[in-house]
Symmetry: C2
Subunit: 242 residues, 2 copies
């Protein structure tokens, strides 16, 4: 096996999996996104680092170019780690990369990671499910909020927690849609930026304040009763390093 | 800090986080569930292991007894790892344990884990989101499928992937509800038992066949177009060990 599609977790390199850390330590090449940048510190000294992430305001490397790069690197016989923020199969386009490798006959493995969708809220003291408050959680992308792929009325009616990833730019429109579909305008919201990292920022507001709130990308936006919780106030994740 | 609420990941101990492995290696006491049993192999030799999991057909330790045990252990000054299958804040009742510790004034940390809800499908070659097939994923518990906490009509209408945890016993009723709410009876379903473990089993069927299909607990049940994919056929996770 030469190509590993690896989840880098939510940001703190301590939250990589044991397997991910081992593969990084043995890698010849690491192809990474912006959100996985911190974890490249765990790569073998001398490993080639290829940044295919989108810089703020910059241009992203097209997905088919990344697919082609992975196929080429895989055929070169080098040990390749494709390092993706969070989990490779949750909005990570890992499925597309896996398909491209499979079609090219390049062997690969998939290494699940800790998803930011749940870990960023956790780092802010928010459990995405909690007895009596939420018995379901929906993770949606805000990236294509208007294209009809997501039935926001159904999201609003579901009655559980909603986590929006890549939704900073569209947060106002999403909030409007959810309120129009019947969600309480006073529903608690928490936006967690750089969750689990030392520079983590948490902003809390009501759903009808989300559009005007100063939320910056990348943030995980949590909508629902659990967003009012702060179980971690006594014990931020950083304390675990002590 | 004396108590750590730690996610053990989906089953394969190689998918623990680096921090979880380190905390286990230093633990005096490990309080674990059945689903986290394999990971106790990483505990410090000599560490006390306390199994509070529910054996098949057996009785579970009541949650308030677990809460009380964690508070008592935390006050004893020993290094306590509360090891929970998957992620502690996704149907792990980690929120309740965190609250109990906070109320008792016992310092604690939360260590997110790789959730079975996404990793079990991944281990079966199924990405929970995939371009053109699914732009959202909802994780629900089947444990209290009939108590009204979840709006199954909304789940059916959402148009994304649905992952049901703890839903083996209620799978027939859930499938009926989803079909009644308009979901295509031919919607692909995959039930992944012991996902990521060597004894992993994958059963695939149509939604209207789920009730009669021989699914055994514990399984993650994936409903949606992505459940027909098998991206991992060429490269099971076990291959990564090679």
């Amino acid at each position: 096996v030469t190509v590993h599609l690896v989840g880098a977790g939510p940001g703190d390199p301590d939250l990589l999996t044991v397997r991910a850390a081992r593969l990084l330590a043995a890698a010849d090449v690491v192809v990474h996104d912006r959100l996985a940048a911190l974890a490249t510190a765990l790569a073998r000294p001398g490993a080639e680092l290829v940044d295919v992430g989108k810089a703020p305001g910059g241009r992203a490397v097209p997905q088919d170019a990344i697919d082609g790069l992975l196929v080429d690197l895989g055929r070169s016989g080098r040990e390749v780690v494709r390092l993706k923020g969070g989990d490779p199969f949750l909005f990570g386009r890992g499925g597309e990369e896996a398909l491209a490798l499979a079609r090219a006959g390049v062997p690969f493995t998939v290494v699940p990671g800790v998803t930011s969708a749940f870990a960023a809220p956790a780092a802010a003291g928010i459990p995405v499910t909690h007895r009596g408050l939420s018995a379901a959680v929906t993770v949606v992308t805000g990236h294509r909020a208007g294209d009809g792929a997501t039935d926001w009325d159904a999201v609003a009616r579901l009655g559980g927690t909603v986590v929006v990833l890549m939704g900073v730019a569209t947060r106002g429109a999403i909030a409007d849609r959810l309120v129009a579909a019947g969600m309480d305008p006073a529903t608690p919201v928490a936006a967690v930026r750089w969750g689990t990292r030392p520079d983590q920022e948490v902003l809390r507001c009501r759903l009808d304040e989300l559009g005007a709130a100063p939320v910056e990308a990348p943030s995980a936006i949590v909508v629902g009763a659990v967003a009012a919780l702060d179980l971690g106030a006594l014990a931020p994740l950083a304390a675990a390093r002590g």
